[in-house]
């Protein structure tokens, strides 16, 4: 199966022991939820708050396309 390259960015507590930004390869048809599982970020401790691809909010079932930038955040707030 063909692979695609996407940019994955992690924020806040998701960076602990992981990375800030990486180019990563996934099989075509990979969903956001599958990327979350593959990175092993601490969603049990810090549930997913916001998923953004190319500046737009998405859900876990969104299928990634080559060249996408996916940003993953736990629940954050301020103001």
């Amino acid at each position: 199966m063909a692979e695609i390259t996407v940019t994955v960015k992690l924020f806040a507590q998701y960076r602990e022991g992981k990375f800030k930004v990486e180019q990563r390869q996934y099989p075509e048809g990979t969903t956001v939820g599958e990327v979350i599982a593959e990175t092993g970020i601490a969603v049990d401790r810090y549930p997913i708050g916001v998923m953004i691809i190319n500046g737009r909010h998405v859900e876990e079932d969104r299928i990634l396309e080559a060249g996408d930038t996916l940003a993953l955040f736990p629940k954050v707030g301020g103001g």
């Binding site: 960076r15 940003a71 301020g78």
Partner: protein, 578 residues
């Protein structure tokens, strides 16, 4: 003893301690300050003239053990917007005023025109108003330290620096925090109102007074426990804010394309990672300092922090998202330590971080100084503004006026007040709050970012118009009510997602006063506050044409989404249909 209204008349340097009128009994915080300003201040008055008044009020729950109840509200007619203003702050003042039984402190009139500045000292049933020549021309930290030396650390302190003395529109009022540092009644140029009344510093000493009685102490304790649990279990107020502070927002707002950059030209900033809460937290861990720090006693969120320089020396505390955005993304400084240094200077001289940062963005646009020049900013803040030079007065006049002076079209203000750190074209619900709130461009009045970007209270697409007016209206009604309780606005995060939070808050109010308020009563309180503030503004001459976005946002698209402001006037004006 029942709570009292303390009234100070600067025209003859007298005071009175008055019974609280029946119709004000159930009010506190913003509800009380806006009610008193609407009742006693002529909307057509000059904000710096004899007929404006300052009204300080603790919230309904301030002075009790209720978590996060330590906000003090200040109301007046704003010299920046020309409309009604409520600005609130943490610090120790709300608890101290409530314990002394001060329902509100009203300051009215102007003293004789000479160089005298005064110190107002409030104690049980008594107020002294004395000249304080030794502190004229001094900045906030020196004023604060002088007061703490004189009265001890348990005294509340409100003060202005030299910008307030000079009645500059960017000036604010500093409030002592529990660590002896500074929080601010920031927005709307209220430091200029205090300067116009020739008041350098106000101290409030509660002595041994503990006037905050509870009608039903057992119910109050149980409700406070449930409320505190909701705050601590919420991932934002319980985890994210303590770990990273409010500056955690830089990255998410940037990723969503709504981080105003280079004077609202772009929706993302290449400096985002440098400016981010993650980076600030990393620096704090490496250098010493604290990631958690409360702005008032009883805060369980602790979003503030203590930030040190590379050598581990203290630089600033209360290093917030809005300030870091204003000087980082918006004005373009790409070094977080320079921004921290500027934050400390602004605390010391007493200027609003948002208005000042937006002003520098407009000034750079107009060619007064280059974008991103931290040294130029520091020179203006430490030399030009304190000395009242023409350059200092230009920056001190705020973003709207600098735009006019330099012939700039891209001036991000509503009702002449600079916009905070969210682009209205890309976060449209927040834009509706900017244009409709009686406060001028303000983010806390109805924080639609929560639902547009942060998925708190559900999700409404930030780039579409649908649902935004209703969202902003509901948030503004709720915020007006919360601002009356003395609660920090961050209780809104658990309130939006945890059904146990708001009932616990209402239970505390009822147990404090022996009242029987329902959720509907609280909603009606919020509606009434908004309506009376709006009515004041209409009488002051701020009509529908002032509830508008700056025109450039209607024809200039914002990268990366090519977003534009596309609400019709009718859609905006429908905000007030309630």
């Amino acid at each position: 003893m029942a709570d009292k209204i303390y009234r100070v008349r600067m025209n003859d340097l007298s005071f009175s301690v008055e019974d609280v009128p029946k119709e004000w009994l159930g009010l506190g915080g913003r509800g009380l300050t806006s009610t008193i300003v609407a009742a006693e201040v002529d909307p057509e008055c000059h904000p710096l003239g004899p007929n404006n008044k300052m009204v300080f009020a603790p919230g309904l729950l301030s002075g009790t053990a209720a978590a996060n109840s330590g906000r003090t509200s200040l109301g007046a007619k704003s010299p920046l917007t020309g409309g009604i203003k409520e600005s609130n702050s943490g610090g120790t003042s709300a608890g101290i005023m409530a314990k002394l039984g001060v329902k509100a402190l009203i300051i009215e009139g102007l003293p004789e025109e000479d160089d005298t500045f005064y110190h107002i000292h409030v104690t049980k049933e008594h107020v002294t108003i004395e000249p304080i020549p030794e502190l004229v021309g001094k900045e906030n930290f020196e004023v604060l330290d002088t007061m703490l030396e004189r009265y001890g650390r348990k005294v509340a302190v409100f003060s202005i620096g030299t910008p307030g003395e000079q009645r500059m529109l960017i000036s604010n009022i500093s409030v002592k925090d529990p660590q002896g540092k500074i929080r601010s009644l920031g927005r709307g140029g209220l430091g200029a109102v205090m300067g116009s009344k020739k008041i350098k510093v106000i101290t409030v000493d509660a002595g041994d007074s503990k006037e905050t009685y509870l009608a039903d102490a057992a119910t109050f304790r149980a409700a406070n426990k449930a409320f505190t649990k909701a705050l601590k279990e919420n991932p934002i107020s319980g985890e994210g804010l303590p770990a990273f502070g409010t500056d955690i927002l830089v990255n998410i707002i940037n990723e969503a394309g709504g981080l105003p950059s280079m004077n609202f030209r772009y929706g993302t900033s290449e400096n985002a990672e440098e400016l981010s809460g993650e980076h600030v937290a990393e620096n704090i861990q490496e250098r010493g300092g604290k990631t958690t720090h409360g702005c008032h006693a009883g805060c369980v969120i602790q979003c503030s922090q203590v930030y040190n320089d590379k050598d581990g020396n203290y630089v600033t505390s209360g290093f917030e998202y809005e300030m870091i955005w204003a000087f980082g993304a918006n004005y373009g400084i790409d070094d977080i330590d320079t921004i921290a240094h500027i934050d400390h200077i602004m605390d010391d001289i007493g200027v609003d971080a948002i208005e000042t940062g937006v002003t520098f963005g407009v000034a750079a646009e107009g060619g007064m100084l280059p974008f991103g020049d931290g040294e130029a900013v520091i020179k203006i803040l430490t030399e030009e503004i304190p000395n009242g030079t023409p350059t200092g007065r230009v920056i001190g006049s705020g973003a709207g006026n600098v735009g006019k002076l330099y012939g700039v079209v891209r001036v991000p203000v509503v009702k002449n007040q600079g916009m905070p750190a969210y682009e209205p074209r890309a976060i449209k619900g927040q834009g509706i709050t900017y244009v409709t709130t009686p406060m001028g461009a303000d983010h806390t009045a109805g924080y639609a970012v929560a639902t547009n970007i942060l998925n708190s209270g559900g999700h409404i697409d930030p780039l579409k118009k649908e649902g935004q007016v209703e969202l902003s209206r509901n948030l503004q009604i709720a915020s007006a009510a919360i601002d009356s309780t003395g609660m920090c606005i961050f209780v809104a995060f658990p309130a939006l997602d945890d059904p146990a939070c708001l009932p616990a808050l209402i239970d505390m109010i009822n147990a404090r006063f022996g009242a029987e308020l329902t959720g509907d009563d609280v909603t009606n309180l919020g509606k009434n506050i908004l309506k009376l503030e709006h009515a004041f503004n209409l009488k002051a001459g701020l009509g529908k044409a002032d509830d508008r976005i700056p025109e450039f946002m209607k024809y200039e698209t914002l990268p990366p989404h090519d977003a534009i402001w596309d609400f019709t006037n009718e859609e905006i004006d429908a905000f007030w249909d309630f």
